[in-house]
């Protein structure tokens, strides 16, 4: 019955501009939102939606986002980036007395659903699409009727399709076997796990054999697609874990692989990179206009590289160079360095986690079929780490610095005899390794903690990657990291996160017994002696 009213209201909305009378109802309904109990607020929100006016949608959205404010005299305002908008007059109001209207999840759900329904008729196709999604999340009979109403007017093909599926999944619970049959047939090429579970529930109760048959068939095909997507998801997660490992390890591959220096403070270089990111972000927040904030990450890259590279060179010149040829001592000295670095950061920034926000272009993800979401930050990191690897490889292969570096690695005395400043090359190589660790820190700050212990978490893993892949071989590091990541992710569902990690470690240990020099070993005398 209410549904019928709704439709009338909607029709009214579509025909005429709101009359003065409607205005009064609207403003009273609006003011009702500022109630004491959540129950009343919910009632108010539903009432407001029931008026079926398009302009209610932004208000309900604001309510859901906690952007709806109320002045002491009960006027409702929408907060937008620090300014207040009076929804009726659409005027900007300035006040400092406004208080946010509190919401809880239930109210938020109602508001979103209502706003969604209203948005079904918004001129903006995207909004309509979102609206259908919203309705799918809070299904109800009147919702179904509304979608039908909207479907009749819908022009955009993709949204039509979306609505049809939505309807179908709503119809699954209809008591008309015909509708149900149509629905299950309709849904045959969906790959949405929620649809799957709906059909499963349908099958629990379904009596109509015809429907059952089709439903089972549909279910089968959905199952197949969902498992397929599951596999793809696993693969992606493996790759993204691999890319994280790789980022953490590349710098090490340079210092360890090229110079043979075990840098136990490598993790702290990553940590410094992350803190530099934090500092840059704060700088942007403090000194630059708000709309530039999304670019802070770009600015952080060179900054982090510079900071860590300089620190690295400092360490090399100040400490590590005196330890060449004594790898084990180097290990211990750099361990000492890592302790000091951690404490330094603790003294400067304090022991607690620092907040590094993802820029908006790294937040969220593409919802693909089968409930698999391709998250932006992961994708960015995968691409980024490939870029870093490529850049490094190019540098080593084509730049004169790279040439010197390789020369020094292969035959130090000969290189110096040929007038290559081995000392400077060492410093720069170490600086390069540390710098890369630094930009790795920038990336890792986007998915994890930024705390003084940040580095500790990566050190063992990155050593494993380098040793497993084969010291001195970037290609090996790449393959090592990715394969470890993927293996880990495919183990996790069966073994659980912890056991998976353990199994991977054991595997590496055994593997190194077989191939002491890793996957891509450098053969030849130079290595043997």
């Amino acid at each position: 019955m209410r549904a019928f009213h709704l439709i009338l209201a909607l029709a009214a909305l579509l025909l005429a501009t709101p009359s003065a009378r409607a205005d009064d109802d609207f403003s009273t309904a609006l003011r009702a939102l500022n109630a004491d109990s959540y129950a009343d607020k919910i009632a108010a929100a539903e009432a407001l939606a029931a008026l079926g006016e398009g302009r209610a949608a932004p208000i309900l959205d604001a309510l859901a986002d906690g952007r709806l404010y109320v002045t002491p005299d009960g006027a409702i305002l929408i907060e937008q980036a620090g300014t207040y908008l009076e929804p009726l007059s659409q005027k900007i109001v300035t006040t400092d007395k406004a208080e946010a209207i509190t919401v809880n999840n239930r109210l938020r759900g109602v508001a979103r659903g209502a706003a969604g329904r209203l948005a079904l008729f918004s001129p903006n196709a995207q909004a309509r699409g979102a609206a259908v999604e919203a309705i799918m999340n809070s299904p109800s009979d009147e919702a179904a009727d509304m979608v039908r109403a909207a479907l009749a007017k819908e022009s955009d093909a993709t949204i039509k399709a979306l609505m049809v599926t939505a309807l179908a999944s709503l119809d699954l619970s209809s008591d008309n076997a015909g509708h149900r049959l149509a629905a299950v047939t309709q849904l045959a090429d969906s790959s949405d796990p929620s649809v799957r579970s709906q059909i499963q529930r349908l099958l629990e109760t379904e009596t109509d054999l015809q429907v059952r048959k089709v439903a089972e068939k549909t279910l089968g095909s959905i199952e197949f697609r969902v498992t397929l997507m599951g596999f793809v998801a696993n693969l992606f997660q493996g790759l993204s874990l691999g890319s994280v490992l790789l980022l953490a390890a590349i710098g090490l591959a340079v210092t360890f692989g090229v110079m043979g220096v075990i840098n136990m403070a490598h993790g702290e270089m990553i940590m410094l990179g992350a803190y530099t990111t934090f500092a840059v972000q704060q700088g942007f927040r403090a000194f630059l206009p708000a709309d530039l904030i999304d670019l802070y990450l770009v600015a952080a890259l060179p900054a982090a590289f510079l900071v860590t590279a300089l620190v690295g060179m400092g360490l090399e010149r100040g400490i590590i160079r005196f330890l060449y040829g004594r790898p084990l001592e180097t290990m211990l000295a750099t361990w000492g360095i890592s302790l000091v670095l951690q404490q330094v950061v603790r003294q400067i920034f304090g022991a607690s986690n620092m907040e590094v926000a993802n820029p908006s272009w790294m937040t969220g993800g593409w919802d693909l079929a089968g409930g698999f979401t391709l998250t932006y930050n992961r994708v960015v990191i995968i691409l980024f780490c490939l870029a870093v690897l490529g850049g490094l490889a190019a540098l080593l292969r084509w730049s004169s610095f790279g040439l010197h570096m390789r020369a020094v690695t292969q035959n130090r005395p000969m290189a110096s005899a040929m007038g290559i400043p081995t000392g400077r090359v060492d410093a720069m190589t170490f600086g390069l390794g540390s710098g890369i660790a630094g930009i790795a820190g920038v990336a890792l700050s986007q998915i994890g903690n930024v705390s003084p212990n940040l580095g500790q978490g990566y050190i063992v893993d990155s050593f494993m990657v380098v040793v497993f892949g084969g010291v001195g071989s970037l290609w090996g590091t790449l393959v090592g990291a990715v394969s470890l990541g993927v293996v880990n992710k495919f183990l996790e569902p069966y073994a659980g996160a912890m056991l998976g990690k353990i199994l991977v470690l054991v595997f590496i240990i055994l593997f190194i017994q077989k191939r002491p020099r890793g996957l891509f070993a450098l053969k030849g005398r130079s290595v043997e002696s």
Binding site: I319, V340, V467
Partner: protein, 372 residues
Amino acid sequence: MHSLSHLFLNPGDRRFWAGFTALGVLFLLLVPALNLLLPADSALHVPNYMVTLIGKYLCYAILAMAMNLVWGYCGVLSLGHGAFFALGGYAIGMYMMRSIGARGVYGNADLPDFMVFLNWKELPWYWLGFDHFWFAALMVMAIPGALAFVFGWLAFRSRINGVYLSIVTQAMTYALMLAFFRNEMGFGGNNGLTDFKDILGFDLSQDATKMGLYLLTTLVLGATFLLVRFVTASKLGRVMMAVRDAESRVRFLGYSVTGVKLFAFTLSAVLAGIAGALYVPQVGIINPSEFSPANSIEIAIWVAVGGRGTLLGPVLGAFAVNGAKTWLTGAAPELWLFALGALFILVTLALPKGLVGLWAGLRARVTEKSND
């Protein structure tokens, strides 16, 4: 003849015994005497907590000597020795858990509290036997020994050495840490084993028991001292040093480097296990964080600080570093990591021979002065 051949490696027997007895007197007689005989308000009185503290250091000293055997003499830097230490600790811990009996909070005579709590119905097979002290004592040596033997055999046979070995051993202890964190493992998960009541019927909360454990540790340290000296003074000791200096050359002389390393590694692991077994009753808890790679690295640091390849160095290092740690964590809690880190850097840079080397150097200079 025997002593002759080491005149230039180790000090002559007379000097050695002099030093040995001196240490013995210091730890075996002096400390207890100062603790028991002197009144509490006397300036020289050694309070109880100090005794337990020194007892703890003594365990570290044993551990350091074990480490020194493989690293200092044989040149194999294991960053997984914390694992052997912890395994020894767990073995004795399991015995003490069993001897709690029905005195646990849930009053279950058959199962330790944490198992009752995880709804385990019966004792897992690998806990069987730990009701008996002799079995636990055996396992204290057998488990670390066996692990070291298998791991070492695999590693040394395929000639994994230098930093590679260090990294692999690190991975080993890391994997063990993760494994022991799992509650399903049946070793108490993150909390490990705790709430010990008594050992061999002696109440652990009694000062007398603590003193007993302290003295026992001292004796074991002495025994370790003699054992390490026997090994390093033997021809095998010389081969070990030869391996440290020129591994491949030793092979061409017909010695099996794998065998030599395996011997040193396994023996050292057993010693580490014993150290752990003495440690746990004195600190009253054993848990997975003992496996953390950081701990193992620290052991190497003690040895480096004290002086590698010397008999006394490790003991010295263990006392110096841990003493400094105890003192600084109280005196300068915000800054002690700086001091510790700086110490490591300084020692590796300036004192490659550690404190012992420093001392020897100073003496040498003094004698030179007196000569001219």
